[in-house]
């Protein structure tokens, strides 16, 4: 039982560290400098990767929420919670890098670009979800309530995206081209390679953090249980 999971952890670690260095090398040295924007364009690699992971983490939360409604287990509850926490970290990174990108590319800290706004609302939903989990009450009750909220939040995200895109095109029709991801007219193949590699690396990072977070959370649960048992024993 314990051996394979330790093996997976080690493999993740062995893969993650070199991958991180390679992706940094790819970003800063190997990939070409974009002509219009200069070096600042390199923000985009990690920005897109973290945005991808932010959505992935939310999808994972939604997945475990659905499972939890079927049958609540502590394992699923913990996984959903850690995924949401990591999601908060990555949405924050996405937002901040997005803002810096906006400043360097369009000289404004904030644009109502649909993807960016969706990420902002995603962040608020994540935080609200974590608030629900912080409620007082028995574990089963919170599991159920947070699962229900997670599902509702999940349904909301695509609608937010659609609504904002629609709103945007109606308000000021296509100012920034197709948005930043496509960089106007197609990405150079070298850039695409770097981007894909970065996405892979950050996904690995997400997996690694998930496993660590889950492990710690499970330990906390075990300790808490042991503690309450000891207290009960001492009291009686």
């Amino acid at each position: 039982m314990k051996q394979p999971s330790a093996f997976v952890d080690r493999m993740l670690y062995i893969l993650l560290v070199p991958a991180m260095f390679v992706s940094l090398y790819l970003i800063f040295i190997w990939s070409p400098i974009e002509k219009q924007m200069g070096a600042s364009q390199k923000i985009f690699y990690f920005h897109v990767s973290t945005a991808w992971v932010a959505f992935l983490a939310f999808f994972v939360v939604g997945y475990y929420c659905v499972l939890m409604l079927k049958r609540p287990t502590e394992d699923r509850f913990i996984k959903a919670g850690i995924s949401a926490e990591i999601g908060v970290v990555f949405t924050t990174i996405t937002l901040l890098t997005g803002m810096i990108w906006g400043k360097s590319a369009w000289n404004t800290w904030w644009t109502w670009e649909p993807r960016l706004v969706t990420v902002l609302i995603l962040l608020f939903i994540y935080i609200a979800y974590l608030f629900v989990r912080k409620m007082e009450g028995t574990w089963e009750k919170i599991a159920k309530l947070s699962a229900v909220f997670g599902i509702i939040g999940c349904i909301n995200v695509p609608i937010v995206f659609m609504a904002i895109r629609w709103w945007n095109t109606k308000l000021h029709p296509v100012v920034f081209g197709e948005g930043k991801n496509q960089s106007g007219g197609g990405v150079e193949p070298d850039m695409l390679v770097t981007l894909l590699f970065c996405i892979g690396t950050i996904t690995l990072l997400y997996l690694f953090m998930m496993r660590k977070g889950i492990e710690i959370e499970k330990m906390r649960l075990t300790v808490r249980k042991a503690k309450s048992r000891v207290i009960e024993k001492l009291a009686s």
């Binding site: 890098t97 042991a226 000891v230």
Partner: protein, 43 residues
């Protein structure tokens, strides 16, 4: 260039922040375990 530097600083800072939170949890765990062990030895 300054923006690039700023962006990557923020990325690493936030990632480090989360790892710090995890580390703090682990530290708290250690404390709890110590309390438990103390109780055990007292019994």
């Amino acid at each position: 260039m300054g923006y690039l530097f700023m962006a990557y600083t923020i990325i690493w800072a936030l990632l480090a922040g989360y790892i710090f939170v995890l580390g703090k949890r682990q530290k708290d765990l250690k404390k709890e375990l110590k309390v438990l062990e103390d109780w055990k030895s007292e019994q």
